[in-house]
């Protein structure tokens, strides 16, 4: 039953991709997606292109997808391993949500970091104590890791 849902979502993602996001299924595994997300305008990640992986578990959509940043990113809700602290990826997941809504929520998280619900404590502390410095570190990481050399 899940295969039809995955099929429909995959088709919609390629036909009508969410702005600034591309998600392509792996050639060998239709549950694994290669995601590229552009840093949102006005955020310290602007100008960067971030790679993510998204995997749909066997019970998808009754279980949430697993998503992880592959590109290094300086963000209070994303840890060193690229794991993301986002409620809809955990207990607030609903089978009515989709890959599209998940990716849009992650994009929104880049625009609005939440240092009060941190995953990376050192980053969150920096964000709370010296936001200006935190933003400048995030910008420099974006330049260093997320800007493809032309």
């Amino acid at each position: 039953m899940t295969s039809r849902r995955i099929l429909v979502e995959t088709k919609n993602l390629s036909k009508d991709p969410p702005p600034g996001i591309s998600a392509t299924p792996d050639e060998d595994n239709c549950r694994y997606f290669h995601v590229i997300m552009a840093g949102p305008k006005g955020s310290p990640y602007e100008g960067g292109l971030f790679k993510l992986e998204l995997f749909l578990p066997e019970n998808y959509p009754l279980c949430p997808p697993s998503v992880r940043f592959l590109t290094k990113i300086y963000h209070p809700n994303i840890d060193k391993l690229g794991r993301i602290c986002l409620d809809i990826l955990k207990d607030q997941w609903s089978p009515a949500l989709q890959i599209r809504t998940v990716l849009l929520s992650i994009q929104a998280l880049l625009s609005a970091p939440n240092p009060d619900d941190p995953l990376a404590n050192d980053v969150a502390n920096m964000w709370k104590n010296d936001e200006e410095e935190a933003i400048s570190v995030a910008k420099s990481w974006t330049r260093r890791y997320a800007v493809m050399d032309s």
Binding site: M1, T2, R4, R5, L62, S94, P95
Partner: protein, 480 residues
């Protein structure tokens, strides 16, 4: 019930106190017991029952029936309401009469906004599996969010496998409506998952019921029930676990639930620092020979020079007599406020170690005394086998040993209590009583270790004194 022997000895009284025959004697006795409020004499008095799973089911079902009859609602909805309101039937009925709709929204039975409207077409597409089925394959809760039965089933299986039961909610985004028991049971067909669900939901119900507690004993299914939800000592009739009814951990009088939690966390955090003191050997303060502690009693006698000393403070045992037993009391530095931060930290550690060392030491004594007692049992067994007395003759020793354990257990839990007390007359009184209790316990322990040569009357007298000290302290300081 009295044995005949006991009755005979009790009947040795003057004529005006005695009653004509035995039945009158028993009757009066019973009335006397009823008239005395046992909670007045025994600060640890606690009325509770040990229930089986079936008895608990019956008890819960009585509330469910009462509520569903009273409000004319389905039993499964009544369960959602009861779980949400900690099984307080009258509170639910009151709120229902006041504002039924608000009660149902707050309890997550009804959605907070108007239910989703559904078109009545013959075919529908399920938003989860995106498959189209005939509309009779769809179900919704009070919120009207329709999903196909297959998706509901998998949703329940996924949730149950994560240990969720009463908390399973509708699949729609941001919909808070909870799924009642009968809805789940209708759709979950795999017997092992159904079994798990029933088990989890039962656990949730017991946990939300203020009068019920699971026995914390390993693999024990017993549920303890009491009207009195205080921090009292409950004993499981099946596995004999002794625990605090309020917080469910090891019983901890006279310390309260919050303080013991704080103390145990502190001990766990500071275990490294406290480790060095947990040695089993110390040097004799007089001849400096190395002495190993292998009994529970803290009254030590050097095997070399026969010096009597205290294991805790290494002071002369004679000074530990019935007068003020200084050993248990921590002497605070009166000028500490004027000392450097470093000195204050050192003092704080010293104070903690003083209490920790005694806490830890009595815990060890409890274990060692258990070993002593096991050895004693073996020796008594040999005596009985060789015809020197019967088990009944030696019964008083077993009673003495279990009383010693009970007293030492309370003594152990007086240390966290004292650690968190403010200095002042109340603490002085506490430490005075603690010292008295400690002295009598060590006397009792000394006598039990030498039980076969101690006079029985002397031992029984010592038991009585120790228990009196224990109840005195609890009466004055156990605040539940």
């Amino acid at each position: 019930m009295n044995t005949e022997g006991d009755v005979d000895s009790d009947m040795e009284c003057s004529d005006n106190e005695c009653f004509g025959d035995d039945s009158d004697y028993y009757n009066t006795d019973d009335i006397d017991i009823e008239q005395v409020d046992p909670s007045k004499n025994d600060p640890e008095y606690f009325e509770f029952e040990c229930l089986t799973e079936e008895q608990v089911e019956r008890l819960l079902n009585e509330s469910v029936e009462l509520l569903s009859n009273n409000l004319q609602i389905l039993p499964s909805l009544a369960k959602v309401l009861l779980h949400y309101h900690n099984w307080n039937v009258s509170e639910i009925i009151g709120k229902y009469r006041e504002n039924a709709s608000q009660l149902l929204i707050n309890s997550r039975v009804k959605p907070s906004s108007a239910p989703a409207s559904n078109n009545c077409s013959r075919y529908l597409t399920c938003p989860v599996c995106v498959l189209t089925h005939s509309s009779d394959k769809f179900l919704s809760l009070n919120c009207g969010h329709l999903f196909c039965k297959g998706c509901w089933t998998i949703h329940f299986e996924v949730q149950i496998n994560q240990g969720i039961s009463t908390g399973i909610s509708c699949m729609a985004r941001e919909c808070e409506v909870l799924v009642p028991e009968d809805f789940v049971l209708k759709l979950v067909l795999q017997p092992n998952i159904k079994e798990k669900y029933l088990q989890y939901i039962f656990q949730d119900y017991v946990k939300s019921h203020p009068q019920l507690r699971f026995c914390p004993g390993p693999n024990c299914q017993v549920v303890i029930k009491s009207q009195d939800t205080k921090a009292k000592r409950a004993t499981c009739s099946k596995c004999k676990s002794i625990f605090c009814f309020k917080c469910g951990i090891d019983y901890h009088a006279p310390t309260d639930c919050h303080t013991i939690q704080k103390w145990l966390t502190k001990c766990a955090d500071d275990s490294e620092t406290a480790n060095y003191i947990s040695a089993h050997t110390k040097d004799c303060p007089k001849c400096h020979i190395c002495i190993e502690k292998n009994g529970g009693c803290n009254h030590m006698q050097c095997y070399n020079c026969k010096y009597d000393f205290c294991w805790m403070c290494l002071g002369d045992w004679k000074a530990h007599g019935s007068e003020y037993y200084e050993c248990s009391r921590y002497k605070e530095n009166p000028n500490i406020a004027h000392e450097s931060v470093h000195a204050q930290a050192r003092e704080a550690l010293k104070k903690y170690l003083h209490y920790y060392e005694r806490w830890e030491n009595h815990l060890k004594s409890l274990k060692l005394e258990k070993e002593t007692f096991d050895k004693l049992k073996t020796r008594i067994n040999q005596k009985v086998m060789s015809g020197r007395g019967t088990w009944i003759d030696w019964q008083y020793l077993f009673t003495a040993a279990s009383l010693l354990a009970k007293c030492r257990y309370t003594l152990q839990y007086t240390y966290p209590y004292a650690y968190y007390m403010d200095t002042g007359p109340r603490k002085e009184l506490f430490e005075y009583q603690q010292a008295q209790l400690e002295a009598e316990i060590e006397n009792l322990s000394w006598k039990i270790e030498r039980a076969e040569t101690t006079d029985r009357g002397d031992l029984e007298n010592q038991m009585d004194i120790a228990e009196k000290r224990r109840t005195t302290l609890l009466k004055d300081f156990l605040d539940v």
